[in-house]
Symmetry: C2
Subunit: 449 residues, 2 copies
């Protein structure tokens, strides 16, 4: 029997928004296709731990297919979405290898996430590393560890100082967590392993234009985090503008005063977030308004104005000034999936999206975190234990929870870090080249092991 | 007090040979410098598990510095050794970033390992992947997993078949273990995750010119391994020459018969091993003879003829037809370190190097391995339990042993694999590009998190 054509839902992106949207469509009478630019869903709140050698990529990255193994109405395709034709209702993506393919939809969920914003200064992008993907995290890890290696080889003290200086622009949770972990690498992991340099001499500078770190947190939590960072040896430079970035360092200025230069080989940009480029295409095609960050202003049910068949969730959606945090994506994704299921099963439209703010939490170092919950503020060890419980519970799978717990014990109770391998390719060194000392021309290959 | 200049020992390479040589110099009255092309020592016997998603790079790669943290006479430098001047006794290496640096020695230990040999067919190198380093393993993993992803997108059945064919040239331990693991990925890990293809239809072809797999093992073990491979669905093609390799597949021939073509997007070369290029330079400088594989023929005490200050250990050394296996490197490294220590402490020269053959072991799949020990042959579960015990004991560190055990439980008792993340860069897809919707020119950056 050939049944009636099923309703087709396409989900662009398998971050928090896309994952929870597709999950909520599990029992919907629809064929769901999730298109993602990598084969995995990233647990972004822990990506800084990949960048600092605590967790492996697999521990924060779950294969998208595995998420939907038990959901037979859902297929997963690997591809980079380049365009959406809102007239013919077709998504165009690029497959690995470069060939384009198209997927038609009846309902579309756009959860394509963010890109970095450099506030109009494109050269900042060229000269800084970011921390959004596994690629970013692995590259940053190799840069941090290679900087110490190069300092051990260097003989010029100024060059050693440049190599041992780490400038982090942006003191949100990612910048704070990264600064704290680099400080722990310098002060706990590496001492005793070097003979010519003292890794603890590393200079870690955390810069933000806001007047305090973690500006989205309560002033008390900000102050507690800043104190802990200073205890770790991090230079906290708030109320400070970055006026230039180049291949050798950053230039900063306080209150329009004289510029100060910080020579640093490692420069990280965790300051600006903007909508992924796809948002602009969809806005142009639908006439939807966007906010200053390029996010699409959505209706209260998270649809694009005039296009009830297009939903926007997560970091691409602009609604009531909601922040670009994981919980907004998770709740928006689940809401969208439920709205679509109601429609397809003939139920009346439900309530508008309502965000439930569970609070904020950020780790500064081992045994120290700050948390602003609903009316409760925790810091130090109490905050850290809450962080441990929350993140362990949210890690997507049993197997990765178990190994992550071991990695945390190794890192936080011990002093080593489990994932410190920098490959030849990452360090920019040659790999063993094929050698072929057999000079006689081989008539035919004779492979023997 | 300024003491007398200490004897300087330089160790090139931190594989098994270099690691055990430097370890044996722990209490020698010498300053030891270990130069390695990456920041880690690789536990090579398990590298195929990184290539197949079982272990993370950090679980088979120990930082060289960490190995020598408690050995104050030993410094570690990251660098690719390009030359050795045996007259002035100086090693030249390239640092990350490309700058050369030099390290003088009084005694040199060359443990630079192997490169691939393609038996004179350079185009084979261009069209196959190898499995010697973490770079290789991560690339092979992404190719294997991306082939299944691309098959799910492809619509042409012939293209799907090419994508789902894996040709492995060389049926030594690496080839056998890799073929077995790819079979388990196809038959155990991926089924249930795809909607358009059946991953179990993957074709895995293991090719060797020898008349049996694992030619270094006993005929009984070879037969047991071949049976198990066939049970897993692997096509075992022994007595088979590879006559050509190109971007679309390999061409094989049996007994000079008509060539047969195997279309395969994924092609792995685990057949030939030759000395690293450095061996040729040292041979040219010292006049030392080399064997057909380019390895240096050493004296019974592992020194280069006429150069008692230069030792060659591991895969670069040719002595009595000893095979290029981990145990030869481990024992040769330890022996070399002890010889040098005896010299420096004025003791008489000891006995020539004697290799103690502990036997061979290779896993075919979960719960099945073959082992030839001294007079004892094990296969199936008994062999596998021995494999588990031996490899667990040899894994260099407590922390990685614990997490590896969890990974093995996940993979061998369950059906998933912990490390399956393929990044955008690895898949050849774009990463989120910097987006900057703020059209007004930014006067100065205003980083806000």
């Amino acid at each position: 029997m050939i049944g009636q054509a099923r309703h087709r839902v396409v989900v662009i992106g398998a971050g928090f928004g896309g994952k929870y949207a597709a999950k909520a469509l599990r029992k919907a009478p629809a064929d769901v296709t999730v298109i993602n630019g990598t084969n995995h869903h990233v647990f972004e709140p822990l990506i800084y731990q990949v960048a600092t050698g605590v967790l492996s990529p697999g521990e924060v990255a779950t294969p998208v297919r595995e998420l939907f193994r038990g959901q037979p109405n859902t297929d997963v395709l690997l591809g980079w979405v380049t365009d959406v034709d809102t007239e013919s209702r077709t998504v165009t993506a690029t497959a690995p290898g470069g060939l384009p393919y198209q997927v038609p939809y009846d309902t579309l969920i756009v959860a394509a996430g963010t890109a970095q914003s450099y506030f109009g200064n494109d050269r900042f992008a060229e000269h800084t590393l970011s921390l959004k993907s596994i690629d970013d995290a692995v590259e940053l890890r190799s840069r941090i560890l290679t900087a110490f290696e190069m300092a051990e080889i260097a003989t010029d003290p100024a060059e050693q100082a440049r190599l041992l200086t780490f400038a982090i622009v942006g003191a949100g949770p990612t910048g704070v967590e990264l600064a704290g972990q680099i400080a722990e690498i310098a002060h706990r992991t590496l001492p005793g392993e070097y003979r010519r340099i003292d890794p603890a001499q590393a200079r870690i500078v955390l810069i933000d234009a806001a007047d305090r770190v973690l500006p989205a947190f309560s002033p008390g939590s900000s102050a507690a985090a800043a104190r802990r960072l200073r205890d770790l040896g991090v230079e906290v430079r708030v109320g400070t503008l970055v006026t230039d970035v180049d291949a050798g360092g950053v230039q900063i200025s306080v209150d329009g005063g004289a510029p100060e230069r910080i020579d640093a080989i490692t420069r990280v940009w965790s300051a600006g977030v903007a909508a992924a480029p796809l948002a602009a295409r969809i806005a142009a095609a639908t006439g939807a308004p966007t906010d200053r960050s390029g996010r699409i202003l959505v209706e209260p049910d998270l649809t694009v104005p005039g296009h009830p068949e297009i939903f926007v969730v997560g970091d691409l959606m602009s609604l009531d000034g909601l922040p670009g945090v994981a919980q907004v994506s998770i709740q928006g994704g689940g809401y969208t999936g439920r709205v679509i299921r109601r429609r397809l099963t003939g139920k009346p439209a439900g309530k508008p999206f309502h965000y439930f703010d569970k609070g904020n939490i950020a780790t500064v170092s081992r045994f120290s975190a700050v948390a602003d919950l609903r009316g409760v503020r925790l810091s130090g060890l109490a905050g850290w234990l809450l962080w441990l419980g929350v993140h362990w519970a949210y890690l997507p799978r049993g197997r990765n929870r178990a190994s992550s717990l071991i990695r945390w014990a190794v890192t936080f109770l011990g002093r080593s870090r489990p994932e410190r391998a920098v490959t030849a390719r990452q360090a920019g060194l040659p790999s063993p080249a094929p050698a072929d000392p057999l000079r006689e021309p081989a008539p035919a290959a004779a492979p023997h092991s």
